[in-house]
Symmetry: C2
Subunit: 468 residues, 2 copies
Amino acid sequence: MTAYVPPMDLDEFRQAGHDLIDWIADYWERLEDLPVLSQVAPGDIRASLPASPPEAGEPWADIMADVDSLILPGVTHWQSPNFFAYFPANASPPSVLGELLSAGLGVQGMLWATSPACTELETHMLDWMIELCGLPDRFLSTGPGGGTIQDSASSGALVAILSARERVAGQWRMPELVAYTSEHAHSSLEKGVRIAGLFAEQIRVIPSDENHAMDPVKLREAMVADIVEDRRPFFVQATTGTTSTTALDPIEAIADVCKDFGAWLHVDGAFAGSAAVAPEYRFVNAGLQRADSYSFNPHKWLLTNFDCSLFYIADRGPMISALSVLPEYLRNEATEKGAVIDYRDWQISLGRRFRALKLWFVIRTHGAEGLANFVRSHVDMAQDFAERIGNHPSYEIVAPNPLSLVTFRHIGGDAENERIRDTINASGDAYLTHTKINDQVVLRVSIGSQHTEQRHVDAMYGLLDTLA
Amino acid sequence: MTAYVPPMDLDEFRQAGHDLIDWIADYWERLEDLPVLSQVAPGDIRASLPASPPEAGEPWADIMADVDSLILPGVTHWQSPNFFAYFPANASPPSVLGELLSAGLGVQGMLWATSPACTELETHMLDWMIELCGLPDRFLSTGPGGGTIQDSASSGALVAILSARERVAGQWRMPELVAYTSEHAHSSLEKGVRIAGLFAEQIRVIPSDENHAMDPVKLREAMVADIVEDRRPFFVQATTGTTSTTALDPIEAIADVCKDFGAWLHVDGAFAGSAAVAPEYRFVNAGLQRADSYSFNPHKWLLTNFDCSLFYIADRGPMISALSVLPEYLRNEATEKGAVIDYRDWQISLGRRFRALKLWFVIRTHGAEGLANFVRSHVDMAQDFAERIGNHPSYEIVAPNPLSLVTFRHIGGDAENERIRDTINASGDAYLTHTKINDQVVLRVSIGSQHTEQRHVDAMYGLLDTLA
């Protein structure tokens, strides 16, 4: 018999693990001093790595030394207090510990039977989050709906599209179906619709109003035009908190249109949904009791490391009908009796990790009050920043900024805005990204890192002021 | 301004992290004594949890106490040395450390630009794995193809289906397309085809030969029958190492058929593909140089915790054409110049974790030699077990067992086999699952945990002998 001798025994694992925990804590402590945006050129990292894998095992110390010298220069520091790009992606201490425990347990949650706690804690956390965010009761697992953790809002949108497609299957043919979204909706809608077998021509991009939110009158007009030509409006993706400006689509009015035409309403609150942990920001949920499905991402603004995207559905029937396949090797008594949830039927993949642990750790460590104060701190800093940048002679605010994203531009034109962005990003002192509004380049300052304090926002303002 | 005070500061994180590392090491040490299959009833775990989330934060010690008392009884121990169910899912020490580092860095790898090391280390590991497993050069990233890490082989199969659909788009309409697989292929094929907008009626399930492998003559007959009726064979999923019996479909002969009819050939080696780290088992790769795409899962048999499914493609063109959407807020110089890989175009989701770290840690810690010895140890134990169970007067082997899965049945009929399975699983001493072959219930003993030693296999044999 060939003996397998683990190259890292449990004593070594303890030592390496303690060291790595300290490495991460040290990393978080020194984040401020690292250039936020990696400054390497394409191919630099690969060129530093050996062409072939090692024949014999290598000591752990050598591997960690390479993490420092080879990998870290190629990392863009999403946890930096000076990270103002995209939307935040917080990896807080309790969430990292949850991810670690999930990896250590190494269970598969594809079926209730393959690890009951993995399914039941997830169901419980999704119900807790309904209370924490004041979400509609129709998403509670105790009714015909329920919630689950997806890897991303893209996957949630795809599951919603497939459920909507299933609901009209048999009545309408695929080429007759039409999906609707706003010009500022996330690209995941187009990707999901195409994955589901529709063509890009079956997507209507509805114009926005002056606040960059979907115009429900234009939505109705578009649906009427399609109906007249014997097409079937089957799906609408509305957004609460668009990527460009955190605009809030008017869900109630959109729901009225969806109801009249029998279309599925999916609401993408990927970023802004987390704001609802603070009761005074629950305006982001307005109309959500009318939605067929809803997604938001604690892995963006709620201290839980990627991946943790929550997906809620009001009626799980069409979803399970669309996604369930039960081969013999997965049959088991609990599933046959229908007494349990099998989350494999709520997602694209079969396998799944124990992701509820990190959400549980985050909620319990912070409590409802701590989570609310977390988002409040960012909104306060952002509103103050918006006021200052709006009063600056060279900058103008270009859209309403209801939460922690501020969108503005230098009055000198696109090239000037690109120069400012590129200069800041190349300095390593801070990182911000852009978007386009009304065909103009617009700068985005998104405040949401757990490490960001007022002084970091002040420094960002200082950079913008100097470069103006 | 509202101040956010983290409830767990970095000193507390260090202490909690060290304790959790020790908790995991202790867990792995005492795994043998825990009942493998969780013995809780549906609802038990939820009933033990508070109905509402806490208003204030709670101490870390209370949370970990609940992990022990409330969560652990609901866990089925996939890492147990007595876990012989499904296929293995090893969470080895270096892979858990890789997952921990990935969580601590908390970067997004959706674009090269959002963290270059995340993309380049992944590309490099996928190329290393080609050398480690003797995979065809056509999958190297330096040519028109390349590889990436997916969450699961289900997602890899879906990406393959979408790429194949893209390759014939414009020439054929969706309802004309037909996909083919064997009766023992994984359920992910049916799920993927349905997600892609085809109907279950557009899937042909090709009968197997006497070894439960796909019969290429029958595949050709099925394609001819479809062509005659103006349908278009567009996709074949072959399997190297089926879930039921690790049967190996004849890839060369299937590729000949695919070539004649212009169908995309995807090979699913989710479990058995890892065997190729040992040169003497590279028979699992026979014919792979003819495949358009290929998946295998280090998260099954190669010491890397879920999720880590490798997906290779010979021509990335149709995939990127099917999955690429580029909104303004993701535009950047590196992408525009075409100098880099943006893995968001290789997968369903936009966001992605730094999963290459754990694969890098596993390969470097073990070396090529250590990985080979790891799979050898299981094949050796399984072959010995198969010989003993085959010689047992009450059991018979029902299929060839080329690797580390042994499929057999008690000669007393289905009820007898179910009794044996249920008795063992209810005892908590070991966990095995079943499948059906020729409409008969068959027991599966899959040997692949990193903690499984000869004495555990002997104990499993003892249980089967006693219950016979």
